[in-house]
């Protein structure tokens, strides 16, 4: 019950993010949509390690059943990477605004020839 719901939720979130990525032209809103896209994957990664009635993966007793630690490690990596790329894109957006006076992608150059 838990797994299908979270998986469906993640898929819907991905759809949402893509809708935003296509419709929005404001740079910061594009970055927000990418953030939502990343969070959807994170949910699925952490879900993969989950088992009902298992403890968090800090081994205090040998006879307990634990949640898998590997997906947690992967999602930690993904969180930090996503934060860094967010910061970078925002930095570029601020720079573009400073130098070009707009944050709307469609108002920037249409490169031709």
């Amino acid at each position: 019950m838990l797994a299908p719901t979270i998986l469906t939720g993640a898929i819907v979130l991905t759809g949402c993010a893509f809708y935003g990525l296509i419709t929005h032209r404001h740079m910061i809103r594009l970055v927000i949509c990418l953030n939502i896209l990343d969070s959807a994957v994170l949910l699925v990664i952490v879900l993969l390690g989950y088992e009902p009635d298992a403890a968090a993966p800090i081994v205090r007793q040998a006879d307990l059943q634990y949640v898998l630690g590997l997906p947690h490690a992967l999602s930690l990596t993904a969180i930090v990477i996503s934060a860094c790329t967010t910061a970078l894109m925002l930095g570029y957006a601020v720079r573009v605004h400073r130098l070009r006076g707009t944050v709307y992608v469609d108002r920037l150059t249409r490169w031709r020839g």
């Binding site: 797994a3 299908p4 998986l7 469906t8 898929i11 819907v12 991905t14 759809g15 949402c16 893509f18 809708y19 296509i22 419709t23 993969l48 390690g49 968090a56 993966p57 800090i58 081994v59 205090r60 040998a62 634990y66 949640v67 898998l68 630690g69 590997l70 997906p71 947690h72 490690a73 992967l74 930690l76 990596t77 930090v80 990477i81 934060a83 860094c84 790329t85 910061a87 970078l88 925002l90 930095g91 601020v94 720079r95 400073r98």
Partner: protein, 230 residues
């Protein structure tokens, strides 16, 4: 027009995803991933399985991830202008300023604790590093110092610490290469793993944790100060 296209594309993504989900059924018939959790204490001496995986089994991922932060921070520091620049246009009230100033030491101690106890409790180099960086950032916001004139730690000092931490991380990997036969090896190098659950356990893991903590903390502080100053 654009909205219709967007609806079409995102709708088809959702439809494809749900179809795959239906075809797969529940995940229970898929092959379970390898269970690291109960091995970790024997293999690495750390009782937090997540830290053990991050800093021992898959330490190369962690090195790569720290490199991502390093790259981002050096690019953003390059973008920030040399002169001190404008800070946020919002002014905070006196009460908030003193409240935050009171909280600051606690945040820093908590951050250090999260790094140092990373292998025996939830947390680790990344989380603790982010806490450290947030304390630097709060300081900058509260006292309105940005750009090069940050009083808590000059930009150059941050860069020194970040580079030194990166150097230490890569060198710790070479210890494994020369004395254990594999890069980033831990138990193979012959370093005692210690009593699981105690502070001095896990071989090289606490050291890698501290190096990562400093690197992440300084890197993220550089990133956010640069964003402020830009």
């Amino acid at each position: 027009m654009r909205r219709t296209l967007a609806l079409l594309i995102s709708g088809s993504i959702v439809a494809l995803g749900v179809t795959t989900l239906m075809l797969t059924g529940t995940l229970s018939d898929a092959i379970r991933p390898v269970d690291y959790t109960l091995r970790t204490v024997r293999d690495t001496g750390a009782i937090n399985a997540v830290t053990a995986i991050l800093f021992d089994y898959r330490a190369l991922d962690t090195l790569g991830e720290a490199t991502v932060i390093f790259a981002a921070s050096s690019v953003l520091a390059f973008l920030a202008p040399r002169s001190s620049a404008s800070m946020l246009s919002v002014r905070l009230s006196m009460l908030i300023l003193y409240g935050i100033a009171f909280l600051l030491p606690f945040i820093m101690v908590f951050g250090f604790g999260t790094i140092v106890f990373g292998h025996v409790s939830p947390g680790g180099g990344f989380t603790g590093g982010v806490m450290l960086s947030s304390s630097v950032v709060i300081f900058a916001v509260v006292y309105s110092v940005g750009g090069q004139q940050s009083y808590v730690l000059p930009i150059l000092v941050k860069k020194y610490v970040e580079n030194a931490a990166m150097f230490v991380f890569v060198s710790l990997g070479f210890i494994g290469l020369f004395s254990g036969g594999a890069y980033l090896a831990n138990a193979l190098t012959g370093i005692p793993l210690g009593e699981p659950g105690s502070l001095l356990s896990g071989g090289l893991i606490p050291l890698l944790n501290i190096a990562t903590g400093f690197k992440v903390g300084m890197g993220l502080a550089l990133i956010i100060i640069s964003l402020f100053a830009e």
